[in-house]
Amino acid sequence: MSSDVRGMSVGETRRIHGLEVKKIARDLYEVFIGPQHPGSGHMRIIVRLDGDVIVEADPDLGYVHRTVEKLSEGRQWIKIIPLIERMAILDACNVTLPYVEAVEKLLGIEPPERAKFLRVLLCEINRIASHLYGMGIFGVFLGHSTMYMWPFGDREVFVELAEWLTGARLTHSYPVPGGVRRDMPEGFADAVRKAARYMRKRLEEYRKIFLDNPVIRRRLEGVGVIPKKLAIELGIVGPNLRASGVRYDVRIVEPYEVYDELEFEVPVFEEGDALARAWVRVEEIKQSLNIIEQVVERLEKMPKGEGLMHDRFWAKAPPLFKQVLQKEGRVKLMPIMAMLRVPKGRAFARAEAGRGEIIYYVESDGGITPYRVRVVTPSFKNAIVFKHVLPGHRLADLPAIYGSIDYFPPEADR
């Protein structure tokens, strides 16, 4: 066998310089993009090119598959919360909340009012931080370094707020079955209002430098268009779906926690292109800022230091636990949590995470571990876009489309 590519026929494989080279078809090139590539990495897209036009795209996922579903079957109910959180640590509260809700459905309990508001507060802080992260990565993909630096700098404001509330920058493990772990600290409400004021100003600057930047608009407008019909057919979720003109948001379709008591809008765009997807995120940040301001206002009116944990657990707590709550504003988790037995049954819960709808199917056989935990994450549902939308675009448009989907591989691969 000769050691160069001359005279190769279609389908033939040769070893050249120690590498396997396969000829696929005349004038058709197979390019492997990732997992080591500019941007957020973790995944590979195998694209077949005719010239520089993509004719076929095959997303190769699973580079961060850490077997969350299997490991959940062997761990206690409470220990699963930190485990599933690792799927999307930048959006931790939104990712764990539907699991906690599913467990609560099986237990037949509802958390107290104050705990619900605290959950919503952290969810929205997470959503803002997650969208800013997505915009920063989008900036990297487009080679717009300022758009990486600004959102990541501003994201720290919200990460800091979350850390103040929960004690951890990213891995909060904040909602637990029956309630939340900590109370709102002193002075938090004012910090939230200040952050909201600051962020609104910054969003206007983002518009000037990024979204209305003529270079960026030329790269994004009309690129990666997902028409409404196709978006529904592919079952994509979250901001990507709403950028295609579908008004679907779990927060209004099936309001969980206290979303039915709060006033907010769901931004919907009709264009369905990469620019619309970027705009949806900016508009959602504005709505989330409105929500967190409303929530802290409600929280300030409630009595402090109570209503963090459901009575079923709290009634059995020893006096020491109540002292800790009075003194430090945090809930010590009762030993009953480790031994928690959940009644037999099947539950399904959904929530709107930063990247879209996240779904949990939890089945219990009455034991100390679940029988089955099925989780479908928004990024996994959005991954199908690469296969069905990329073909027909030029290779140079791939970063724009990839970035606009706000795809987060650890979340998709679980």
Partner: protein, 163 residues
């Protein structure tokens, strides 16, 4: 209208649309399960789609090792119909637990099931007949052969509260 009322109404509509295909309806916490026979799966799916259930939320497979069956469920709902969006219906079928269990693929009806059926194939070894591109998606081929989500594949677990 409260959610349970809508659920009842949708269940009635499903009953009248699917007719004899329905083998049983169970109401669980947050969703309704509609059982059909494996051979009627595609027909039932098309009927559900014509009702307005336009996407698959989750292809949920549960390995019931004691009963020696696989529970294959498609959690479906709607984006376009705001009333149906409030309800999640699981179109489920029970197949016997074999090494190469077969079930008809619903990718032809709902494109959104494509990747999740591939996932179910690699984790449980269920062959979805008629799937356009059935190969592992998340796992390396040698790991996929172990069918890791089956209950007889056991991972070691350290814990103090062990049954």
């Amino acid at each position: 209208m409260s959610n349970s009322n809508i659920t009842q109404e949708v269940v009635e509509r499903i009953k009248s649309t699917l007719g004899d295909l329905v083998k049983g309806i169970e109401e669980h916490k947050g969703f309704v399960t509609v059982y059909v026979d494996p051979e009627n799966l595609v027909k039932a799916a098309s009927l559900l789609k014509s009702m307005g259930f336009d996407h698959v939320k989750s292809v949920t497979v549960v390995d019931r090792i004691k009963e020696k069956v696989f529970h294959v469920g498609y959690h479906v709902s709607s984006f376009s119909d705001p009333e149906l969006a409030k309800v999640v219906v699981e179109l489920a079928t029970i197949i016997s637990r074999e090494d190469d269990a077969k079930v008809p693929s619903l990718t032809g009806v709902w494109t959104s099931a494509e990747f999740q059926e591939r996932e179910a194939y690699e984790f449980f070894g269920i062959i979805f007949e008629g799937h356009p591109d059935l190969r592992p998606i998340l796992l390396a081929p040698d790991v996929a052969e172990k069918r890791p989500l089956r209950k007889d594949f056991v991972v070691k677990e350290e814990g103090i509260y062990r049954e």
